[in-house]
């Protein structure tokens, strides 16, 4: 429910409304069931999606992902990351991914 906190704090959004919004956003990834879990109980992909959503909760969000393959090490390519970004593309203004040059292959044609 850290996702809801951003809206509650910056926009003074009521608790229920903020939680509903966070839950709806998590449902986009099919992760509604993890809404009440704490960070250590999350898998790598789940944690990545939560962090992404949390970043997207800020108004006119500019998302910067630093070395995403460190967060989800077992991914073979950027498919999962791009798919996740596409699912919430209406929530952020722009997104930049930073990684080392030797990771270029994992990003395919990007």
């Amino acid at each position: 429910m850290n996702i809801a906190l951003i809206k509650q704090y910056h926009e003074n959004m009521p608790k229920r409304q903020a939680r509903r919004l966070a839950l709806t956003s998590l449902e986009r990834f099919g992760l509604g069931a993890i809404a009440l879990r704490r960070n250590p109980a999350l898998g790598n992909e789940e944690r990545f999606c939560v962090m992404l959503l949390r970043a997207a909760m800020v108004k006119d969000a500019m998302i910067l992902i630093d070395q995403p393959f460190q967060m989800v090490p077992h991914l073979k390519d950027s498919g999962f990351i791009m798919n996740a970004l596409k699912k919430i593309d209406d929530l952020y203004a722009s997104c930049h991914i930073f990684d080392y040059r030797w990771m270029q292959d994992k990003y395919g044609g990007l």
């Binding site: 906190l5 951003i6 509650q8 704090y9 910056h10 003074n12 959004m13 009521p14 608790k15 800020v58």
Partner: protein
């Protein structure tokens, strides 16, 4: 010479720490009156904190206040009877037990339970870099983490101390009947005649000051933790020692205020 250098350094460090705490207290105190402090997120934390500090502790607190309060009232009443000072029951009850003992015991209980928890929580948050994450999201640490805990401290100590006083006065009814054969009307008259409004105001103010500092000091020390896990026990023990120092200082200051 080395001895004086070490002593001087310690005194300077202690004084600058004290000045830092006072400056931080003033900053936090001003925020209490700012409307933007009370965001939806802060209010949620405040409600949770009040639940953890005041509601969860109620069964234990009632048990301690009934047991300890009755014991204390019993001893004091027996002593007063033996010394032939029955006419001072009211003054002893209001002046010593209600205005001095209740806030002191309440603050000790809450310090042992909640201040230690707050100190550790803050230190763990600092070590886990949760504080850093909040700062990244432009969430003001004072508004979101500090203020709910401090306001909770003030509310909880005032309410729990009042509850402690009520329990003490109620057990006084029983003991005045058993020891002095006094009926409830006489007892109530004695207590009401000895009640000084200024004493109650000082007592409530003291509770509020206690509540403010027994939450502020652990937060301040908790936030001093470094990124090392080993810094947690260090800042917790420092914080708790300073809290007990602050309690004694407030107690002495309130006694001086009463004397003036």
């Amino acid at each position: 010479m080395a001895f004086f250098e070490i002593l001087g350094n310690r005194v300077i460090r202690m004084l600058s720490g004290f000045a830092g705490t006072i400056a931080f207290s003033w900053k936090v105190f001003l925020r209490i009156f700012q409307r933007k402090t009370y965001s939806s997120a802060m209010r949620e934390v405040l409600v949770n904190q009040i639940y953890f500090t005041s509601v969860q502790i109620l069964p234990l607190f009632l048990l301690v206040s009934i047991f300890f309060g009755s014991l204390f009232i019993g001893i004091v009443f027996t002593l007063l009877k033996e010394l032939g000072l029955t006419q001072f029951i009211g003054h002893v009850l209001m002046g010593l037990i209600v205005t001095e003992l209740s806030p002191f015991l309440t603050v000790l209980l809450i310090t042992l339970r909640s201040s230690a928890a707050i100190n550790t929580e803050m230190a763990v948050m600092k070590v886990n870099r949760e504080i850093k994450t909040l700062e990244i999201f432009r969430i003001d640490i004072i508004n979101y983490l500090v203020m709910p805990r401090i306001i909770n401290g003030i509310i909880s100590i005032v309410l729990l101390s009042s509850l402690f006083s009520i329990v003490l006065l109620a057990s006084g009814i029983l003991f005045s009947r058993v020891i002095f054969g006094m009926n409830m009307d006489v007892y109530s008259n004695l207590v009401l005649n000895s009640t000084d409004f200024s004493d109650i105001v000082i007592s409530l103010c003291k509770c509020a000051v206690y509540g403010f500092f027994i939450t502020l000091i652990p937060i301040r020390f908790g936030l001093r933790a470094s990124r090392e896990l080993t810094s947690i026990p260090v800042v917790v023990s420092q914080g708790m020692v300073n809290v007990f120092g602050a309690i004694l200082m407030i107690e002495v200051l309130s006694l001086i205020t009463k004397l003036l």
